[in-house]
């Protein structure tokens, strides 16, 4: 178990220090949110209305960053081989890497979301809702991304490929995340049902994604 947390800590500190990957992700999130008003116009009423959706899409795009190196480095320097030889279940290694990656890239986005929401004139209740749904939903994004990272770990340039593979799979998370947020703001729409589905999605991803990613990594080493 201490080994598990060691891998989580190592992933976290590597993402935070080496090349500032996690910080760049946060800046990317800011950049996405900044670019949208240039596209749709500076009308604050409109931005306030679509703000939660912008924040969700920004978080989704930011979650794709850094996935390329999540397992590729371990595959290249032999860490993966050593871990498999050690006899420990590879699922735990994948889960630890994914948790570390989420702490470094997902959690900062969740924390930054309400601040960036202020720029878009999102009302306070919606700010709370979007932060809550992102907190519950963003682990699912990272978990789905980990499958894409494992599938492309053996490729020299897998970055674009990951985005193409992962985005369609992340659509349900986006749908339920945004509809739960809208449910919290507008009265006739329900909040509980999409929110519970979002949570269910995260739990399902937590149960299935690490095993799938571990399986794909093993296949890639054959």
């Amino acid at each position: 178990m201490s080994g598990f947390f060691a891998i989580v800590r190592q992933t976290l500190s590597l993402s935070l220090r080496a090349g500032g990957g996690a910080i760049v992700g946060l800046v990317f999130f800011l950049a996405v949110v900044t670019v949208i008003p240039f596209g749709v116009g500076p009308d604050l009423n409109l931005l306030g209305r679509i703000g939660p959706a912008i924040l969700w899409i920004g978080a989704l795009l930011a979650s794709l960053l850094g996935l390329e190196r999540l397992f590729a480095a371990d595959r290249e320097d032999g860490t993966l081989d050593l871990f498999i030889v050690s006899g420990e279940p590879l699922v735990l290694f994948v889960l630890a890497r994914t948790i570390g990656h989420w702490l470094a890239t997902g959690l900062p986005v969740v924390v930054a979301a309400p601040v960036l929401g202020l720029l878009l004139d999102v009302e306070p209740l919606a700010l709370g809702a979007v932060t809550l749904t992102l907190l519950v939903g963003s682990p699912a994004l990272t978990l789905i991304g980990s499958v894409g990272a494992a599938l492309t770990a053996g490729l020299a340039r897998g970055g674009t490929m990951i985005a193409v593979l992962v985005l369609p799979l992340a659509v349900p998370v986006l749908i339920f995340g945004v509809s739960a947020t809208n449910g919290a703001i507008a009265d006739p729409e329900p909040f509980t049902a999409p929110f519970l589905l979002l949570a269910a999605g995260t739990l399902m991803a937590a149960a299935l994604a690490p095993a799938t990613a571990a399986f794909a990594l093993k296949l890639g080493l054959e």
């Binding site: 499958v147 599938l151 492309t152 053996g154 490729l155 897998g158 490929m161 193409v164 593979l165 985005l167 369609p168 799979l169 659509v171 349900p172 799938t212 399986f215 794909a216 296949l219 890639g220 054959e222």
Partner: protein, 256 residues
């Protein structure tokens, strides 16, 4: 009787498929000719939609095959991962571009049909959106296949993604029942029998059989091409291996 294990031998598969292919292709051509005559001339126009209802005879079979093809790929993916069947991976790889083409056809014909009946080329309705996601999945799979150099390893990795993406198929099938959408609910395969008139059901079924035969013919031909492509690749690798180092260097200097 040929069993799946006997077909694991690519040479046997090539022999059998070579004999079957012309018959399947011929039957498909006959069915499509009959189906096109029935659907374009012999079936009645809709009392509301007029002649634009005839788009249905292309649109519905294409959409069925778009889903059928992915299901076939998912079965092949299980074959690759569980039984390591040598042809399962060839089957999945050959099916992907055909499935993408049928999905694209379903989207385009649906769009052309939507303009006169719904008044718009596109709506972000659950069925349309999930089929669009299916198209992106197909294209992503094809891209992933091409990214790996070695076909066997690519086959196993892509098989994992095929199975992960399979969750989309039931979502497409039931999207019109789960969500109240603009796209009409199922009218052929449903509880309580088809709700479509027999005069339109017959041409639709003939077209569906023709499309399915067309798919089988294209799939067999693509599988044969893929097997030949892999043999050629192996032969090239062997030839490159045998060539003496000096000759290779001379050839490189000679600009070959």
């Amino acid at each position: 009787m040929w069993s799946l294990t006997q077909l694991a031998n690519p040479t046997r598969f090539l022999g059998l498929s070579g004999r079957v292919l012309p018959w399947v292709a011929g039957a498909s051509a006959l069915c499509l000719a009959a189906g096109l005559y029935l659907s374009l001339f012999a079936s009645p126009a809709d009392y509301q939609q007029g002649d634009s209802v005839r788009i249905m005879y292309i649109h519905v079979p294409a959409a069925w095959l778009a889903m059928f093809c992915y299901t076939l790929m998912a079965v092949s993916a299980v074959g690759t991962l569980v039984w390591r069947h040598p042809l399962a991976d060839v089957s999945a790889k050959a099916a992907a571009p055909i499935g993408a083409a049928f999905t694209f056809m379903a989207l385009v014909t649906g769009s052309l049909w939507g303009k006169p009946t719904w008044g718009t080329w596109w709506v972000w309705d659950a069925r349309l959106t999930s089929v669009l996601v299916l198209l992106i999945m197909y294209l992503g799979l094809i891209a992933l296949w091409r990214a790996f150099e070695e076909p066997a390893r690519a086959g196993r990795i892509v098989a994992v993604l095929i199975l992960v993406g399979f969750v989309n198929i039931p979502i497409i099938k039931f999207s019109v029942d789960w969500w109240n959408t603009l796209h009409q609910p199922a009218s052929v395969l449903r509880m309580g029998g088809p709700s479509i008139d027999p005069s339109m059901l017959l041409p639709l079924l003939v077209m569906a059989v023709g499309f399915t035969l067309l798919f089988v013919a294209l799939h067999l031909a693509a599988m044969r091409a893929e097997i030949f492509r892999r043999r050629l690749r192996t032969a090239q690798l062997v030839a490159a291996h045998r060539r003496p180092v000096g000759a290779a260097a001379a050839a490189a200097q000679g600009g070959l």
